[in-house]
């Protein structure tokens, strides 16, 4: 039998992926210094890494908000409507 492809199940590979991810993150911030900034339309466009920080923080907020909403209010067991 052909061995199935399970590259993503190996901890070593996940580690490699993680390092690759961090490198990409750093590169995306550094790349901002390479592109011409004359197209900036907002005052915050000139702050280096603004969108990186914004993306991270806003996602954190959205995750926490939906976690709280789900935990205390909106998430119900699957047979909720069957009762």
């Amino acid at each position: 039998m052909k061995k199935e492809f399970d590259w993503f199940d190996k901890p070593d590979n996940i580690k490699k992926l993680r390092i690759f991810g961090y490198v990409i993150l750093v590169l995306s911030v550094l790349a901002e210094f390479l592109v011409p900034s004359h197209g900036a339309q907002h005052s915050w466009d000139k702050i280096p890494g603004f969108y990186a920080l914004f993306g991270f923080v806003i996602c954190m907020v959205m995750i926490i908000v939906s976690k709280v909403l789900g935990q205390f209010w909106l998430k119900k067991s699957e047979d909720y409507y069957d009762e």
Binding site: F5, F8, D9, L25, S28, F56, I58, S66, L74, Y80
Partner: protein, 583 residues
């Protein structure tokens, strides 16, 4: 004016008729040919083509052609082609038949020049599309389908009320821009908003679409909401409330998609999120924003269809949709995974994909109009899209925990459909000019500036980081999420409780009066016509009442005059009734 005898909708309706006559290969060729013929027919339509039919004192115009209707016409045909390719293997005819009528009606709305024909096709869409849900043949799908069609009928009636008032007020049936904020326009707007799934009128979508068949939901994802987007562009461009409602939709869709466990519900909520961008663009209403909304609808139909195809393939092969049941499928479904990732990248607006060249137009329009808060909400929503549809969906379906599922890639026709849509996602991302050229207004926008690309990458990549940092908080639970359909699913029980309470009360009262008391009284009266009055007479005089068994009927002590009085009264009543009857 050139009068035309054929509207694009009829091509699909004729196809539906022919479908009844053909089988096997011919059936497959037919359902693929219909969208292609319609596509080229729409491409050939000249802007002054019309098809007017007099109706009462009005002229119904079934064919109104301009650049806007053509854009939606093209994409509806492309979506129909891809979806029919994906559903090519289906044996029965019911799904294809309802899909043909559904798509045809959507095209009917798009090319409708007057409100009445728009309304007719509008209702056709709701009725035809429900068959795509019922074809799943589960109890849940049946129930969800009923709710779906009922909600749409109510929405359609609100729309009809608005249309009638509008025609009464203005005397014009023409589908055109409405600027007066009166009750008629609000009713029409609410009718449109319901189909566009604007919260709180959105719960029908996340309730019904995930219950559709593996192939049927691909159709559903494309037409109803985007038809509503089209009608909003035509009738309500620049209505400020739409800016805020659209922004609300984008965030609402994300928050719910993060909570959901069912993979297809995640996609349903991400439709609400994406349509939010379009509604927001319509609200901004500048040429740039309208172009953005139309272009985004175009791109969205393709990548969202592709996401539903991926989810449909997983459902088709494994029979499962819940994230808690799925996982580890990357091992055996590589093609589905790759296509899914292309769609996920497109919906997240990664550079080189279709989302990047279309969604950013709406953001640009917000910037140009100095709508700073809206701009930030839309940027936040862009980050959130990547979070739920871009990573969460593929991650929990194809990676995460291996649940031992070993499903292969789906049937060849399904694979071809996915490859076709994936190709379009990338093509529009790399070379958007053909799309820009068919937009309603001339486009002066360049998506690929260094700053745009870097900012978007930062935003998305760090959203991805947030996903993995907070993965523990995102752990899947076997739950459902309450939405506004609670009002008519649980609230309806309250209504049922109250209504049955009242009904049972009335029934008991009637039972007491007409079944128990009256017949007994009548029986007693017939048996002893005078006797019961005699009892009554005695009672009022404080005498002892005797039952007939213990006392002979004739041994009564009431005066004979009373009997005579009753007899006369009875004759009088009879005389009165007869004179009334035979006058």
């Amino acid at each position: 004016m050139t009068s035309s005898f054929l509207i694009p909708a009829f091509i699909f309706f004729i196809g539906a008729l022919l479908l009844l006559a053909v089988n096997g290969k011919a059936k497959q060729i037919l359902i693929l040919a219909v969208p292609v013929i319609a596509f080229f027919y729409i491409a050939r339509l000249s802007p002054d083509a019309t098809l007017a039919i007099p109706f009462l004192q009005y002229d119904l115009n079934f064919l109104h052609v301009d650049k806007l209707s053509k854009v939606f016409g093209y994409i509806f045909c492309i979506a129909a082609f891809g979806s029919f390719l994906f559903a090519l293997h289906i044996e029965g005819k019911l799904e294809h038949l309802s899909a043909l009528i559904y798509v045809g009606s959507a095209l009917g709305v798009v090319f409708a020049g007057d409100f009445f024909s728009l309304y007719i096709f509008w209702e056709f869409m709701a009725v035809a599309s429900v068959m795509l849900i019922w074809s799943r043949r589960t109890k849940k799908a049946l129930d969800a389908g009923y709710r779906y069609v009922l909600v749409h009928i109510v929405g359609g009636l609100v729309l009809l009320a608005g249309i009638l008032l509008h025609v009464h007020n203005t005397g014009s049936l023409e589908v055109g821009r409405i600027q007066t904020h009166d009750i008629a326009s609000w009713l029409i707007l609410i009718g449109f908003m319901l189909n566009a799934a604007v919260p709180p009128l959105s719960a029908w979508l996340s309730d019904a679409y995930p219950e559709g068949t593996a192939t049927g939901s691909v159709f559903l994802s494309a037409f109803t909401t985007k038809t509503a987007v089209y009608t909003m562009i035509r009738v309500f461009p620049g209505w400020e409330i739409l800016i805020w409602l659209g922004a609300l939709m984008t965030i609402y869709g994300i928050i719910y998609a993060i909570m959901e466990n069912d993979s297809r519900k995640i996609l349903a909520y991400s439709i609400i999120n994406q349509v939010g961008f379009m509604v927001c663009g319509i609200g901004i209403g500048t040429t740039m924003a309208i172009n953005g909304a139309a272009a985004h609808a175009f791109a969205h139909i393709i990548y969202k269809g592709l996401l539903w195809m991926a989810a449909g393939s997983v459902l088709y092969m494994t029979g499962k949709t819940k994230c808690t049941d799925l996982g580890g499928l990357y091992k055996t479904m590589p093609l589905t995974l790759i296509c899914c990732c292309i769609a996920a990248a497109s919906i997240s607006a990664f550079p080189l994909t279709s989302g990047f060249t279309t969604k950013t137009m709406i953001l640009q329009a917000a910037t140009t109009q100095h709508l700073t808060i809206i701009y930030f909400i839309l940027e936040a929503a862009s980050a959130g899209v990547f979070l739920h549809a871009g990573i969460k969906f593929p991650y929990f379906v194809f990676f995460a925990k291996d649940n031992g599922l070993r499903a292969a890639d789906p049937k060849p026709n399904m694979q071809c459909a996915m490859i076709f849509f994936a190709f379009l996602c990338i093509a529009i991302g790399i070379y958007p000019e053909p799309l820009y050229n068919i937009l309603p207004y001339p486009v002066e926008y360049h998506a690929y500036t260094g700053l745009h690309v870097v900012r978007m990458l930062q935003l998305l990549l760090f959203s991805g980081l947030a996903f993995f940092v907070f993965l523990k908080l995102l752990k899947r639970t076997e739950t459902i999420t309450l939405d506004t359909d609670w009002v008519y699913r649980k609230g309806s029980r309250l209504v049922v409780f109250v209504v049955t309470g009242i009904a049972v009360g009335i029934a008991r009262l009637c039972d007491f009066i007409f079944i128990q008391s009256l017949p007994r009284l009548l029986a007693a009266f017939v048996k002893r016509p005078i006797g019961i009055f005699a009892d009554f007479y005695r009672k009022t005089n404080g005498e002892k009442v005797c039952t007939p068994a213990s006392e002979p009927e004739l041994a009564t002590t009431i005066p004979a005059g009373v009997s005579v009085l009753f007899a006369v009264g009875f004759l009088f009543v009879l005389a009165f009734i007869f004179t009334m009857l035979f006058r």
